[in-house]
């Protein structure tokens, strides 16, 4: 296990190098003069030259790449062209916002998905099974941003149950400590604000969590069906255990092993997929941060934002891989 962990971490190195090459290339593969593209057609020659100078665009590629990696290793993610401030100092609130949203979306997806999958397997071929699987199939076929817009229309604008935009009441902002607003409100013991933060989370979490929920439900069902056929379950039944005990105590533990992998992988996917949900709900997360940067041609933010999301994605996948062998002692490396 230890050797596997080391090997798995070492395998990350080429991937990380490749990731930096791709994000580095984003600026350099722009057709034409990158500085000119960034500044727009109306920029003067002096402005273009100044930007080329400040971004080091006059150096040979290899030198530029070397400098880029050196900066990254020192924790320097560059300076935003729009806000003129260091990206590393302004990025945390965006990351925290995305983490908070992802956490609640996964909470929704796991709770509903796992339970729907269990009941579907338990009552295989019943009307519940049929409806749940149909719903799961529709769930994975739906454009997530469409679902988000429909929610906004129905639950925010027509019924007025939940707020349609943002993370908090803009007239009554939360004093941020960790930038996880639900947690921050708890720390302040400010329960009305906890409710407000949670209310803001409902619609985006459901929109973001629907696809993983559908995938988790299908995975749990098929995994449960397989486990329920195994010999040890028959033995448990033969001992006279009730159906509930068989399902939730004995079958679930083994059936959840592949499901946990899916949960981990989906968490990574959500972080990247959040860009659409965040755009629709004006959620100030990392996805929206990158998306806004595109329309402003703020290339340092695009580069660093994409690199950070990909980095978190890779780390989550690593943790999932390592967890997989930890929770299933039968897997030996």
């Amino acid at each position: 296990m230890f050797a596997y962990t080391i090997r798995r971490i070492l395998m990350l190195i080429p991937v990380l190098i490749g990731m930096t090459i791709i994000t580095f290339s984003i600026v350099h593969l722009i057709p034409g003069n990158p500085a000119q593209v960034i500044l727009g057609e109306n920029a003067t020659e002096e402005q273009v030259e100044a930007l080329e100078e400040s971004m080091g665009l006059n150096e040979p590629y290899i030198v530029q790449y070397g400098l880029y990696v050196k900066d990254l290793l020192q924790g320097d993610l560059g300076t935003s062209l729009k806000t003129k401030s260091e990206i590393s100092s302004e990025i945390w609130p965006y990351i925290a916002a995305t983490f908070e949203l992802t956490f609640f979306a996964m909470l929704f997806a796991v709770f509903i998905g796992v339970n729907a999958g269990i009941i579907s397997a338990w009552r295989q071929n019943s009307w519940f099974d049929f409806l749940a699987m149909l719903f799961a199939l529709v769930g994975v076929s739906m454009p997530i941003f469409w679902l988000a817009l429909m929610e906004q229309w129905l639950f925010a604008q027509e019924l007025g149950w939940f707020p349609a935009y943002g993370r908090q009441d803009s007239k009554d902002p939360i004093a941020a400590i960790t930038h996880f607003y639900v947690l921050d409100s708890f720390i302040h013991l400010d329960f009305p604000r906890v409710i407000t933060s949670l209310k803001h989370l409902v619609l985006p979490s459901i929109a973001l969590g629907t696809i993983p929920m559908a995938i988790i439900a299908r995975m749990t069902r098929s995994s449960m069906l397989e486990v329920m056929k195994s010999d040890y379950i028959r033995t448990v039944r033969a001992k006279g255990a009730g159906q509930f005990l068989v399902v939730y105590k004995h079958a679930l533990r083994n059936a959840l092993i592949p499901v946990i992998t899916v949960i981990g992988l989906q968490t990574g996917v959500l972080l990247g997929g959040a860009i659409l949900t965040e755009t629709i709900f004006s959620w100030p997360g990392i996805g929206r941060y990158v998306f806004d940067a595109i329309s402003f041609r703020d290339y340092p933010v695009i580069q660093s934002g994409i690199l950070i999301i990909a980095f978190i994605f890779v780390i989550i996948n690593l943790i999932v891989d390592l967890l997989y062998s930890a929770i299933d002692p039968r897997i030996k490396y």
């Binding site: 490749g18 076929s141 994409i306």
Partner: protein, 311 residues
């Protein structure tokens, strides 16, 4: 059904070839059915897959005969009649510029299906070539190609697509290229793992021992035996590609106005949700149905082609 067919053949043969030396009936009855015919037969029995097939055929026809179905052009504006609800004249209502939504959906089917087709074909061809080379030749070339796949898969797909569009500029063609690129490692890995398992098969060894060239082995033995998982993935990938194109269109990074791309139509509808909900509902349902269609066929194909899933 198998028996009926075979018996028919047998009785025909008996009529045309009444020689006393004709083979015994038993030897005719064990005639092998090709795995593909068996799969197709299973697929025909699968109601969900059939439903998916019907949905896709419907949208293909809708795209093909669009000009015959509607008197409007997809970019024909009629500001006075903007945001009209569905009526006899405008079956699915009009959008914020008074354009007929049914017309735009029908022409939009062309765009979505084409994006799906070209993005999947591109990813399939490049991914398969890389996968075969990596899996068949192994060693450093496998190492190199696999690491490239790892790197591409390290980015959440939509983000990588956004990065590609950020480099190339926003247009439908560039969105298509971006979607093809993000799908390359998915096909590549699939083909690679299949090739690696095939490489050790005895008939491949035999072909090598006979002195067959690598190219011939790949073309005649490896490729035909790796098609089943590729077909399943391509079908499912079709749906994903359409969703990704719609997402890029929605973000303004794909099709540009006045193209009737479904994702772009949803983006336009955003500001008029309360006034004209049909502008939001119709394109969303269209995307969902097409993707659902491909998912149903893909699931059906997987069940039919994967021997492990058979009863």
């Amino acid at each position: 059904m198998v028996n009926v067919e075979n018996k028919k053949q047998f009785s025909n043969k008996k009529l045309t070839n009444p020689s006393p030396n004709s083979p015994k009936p038993n030897s005719e009855e064990v005639k092998a059915i090709s795995p593909w015919r068996d799969a197709m037969r299973q697929l025909r029995k699968n109601h969900f897959a059939l439903a998916g097939f019907v949905i896709i055929v419907f949208f293909i026809l809708l795209g093909l005969v669009a000009p015959l179905l509607t008197p409007f052009a997809f970019d024909e504006q009629d500001i006075i009649n903007r945001l009209q609800p569905p009526s006899a004249e405008h079956w699915l209502g009009t959008d914020h510029l008074g354009r007929d939504i049914f017309t735009r959906i029908a022409y939009g089917a062309r765009i979505s299906l084409q994006v799906g087709f070209f993005a999947v074909t591109g990813a399939l061809v490049v991914g398969s070539i890389l996968g075969i080379v990596a899996g068949y030749f192994g060693r450093w070339i496998d190492m190199l190609i696999s690491r490239i796949f790892d790197i591409l898969l390290a980015f959440p797909s939509i983000l990588l697509a956004i990065a590609v569009v950020a480099i190339l500029g926003a247009s439908l063609e560039n969105a298509l290229i971006a979607i093809a690129i993000i799908n390359i490692p998915i096909f590549g890995r699939l083909v690679r793992s299949k090739v690696i398992s095939l490489r050790e098969e005895e008939y491949i060894m035999a072909a090598k021992a006979q002195g067959m060239k690598n190219g011939r082995i790949i073309l005649h033995h490896i490729l035909p035996n790796s098609t089943a998982p590729i077909i399943v993935q391509a079908t499912l990938g079709f749906g994903t590609a359409i969703l990704e194109a719609a997402a890029l269109g929605f973000l303004g990074l794909g099709a540009q106005p006045p193209d009737p791309e479904w994702g772009k139509m949803l983006a336009d509808a955003r500001d008029f949700i309360q006034l004209a909900p049909w502008t939001l509902i119709v394109p969303g349902v269209a995307i969902m149905l097409v993707v659902l269609g491909f998912n149903l066929i893909g699931d059906g194909l997987r069940d039919a082609l994967d021997p492990k899933m058979k009863n």
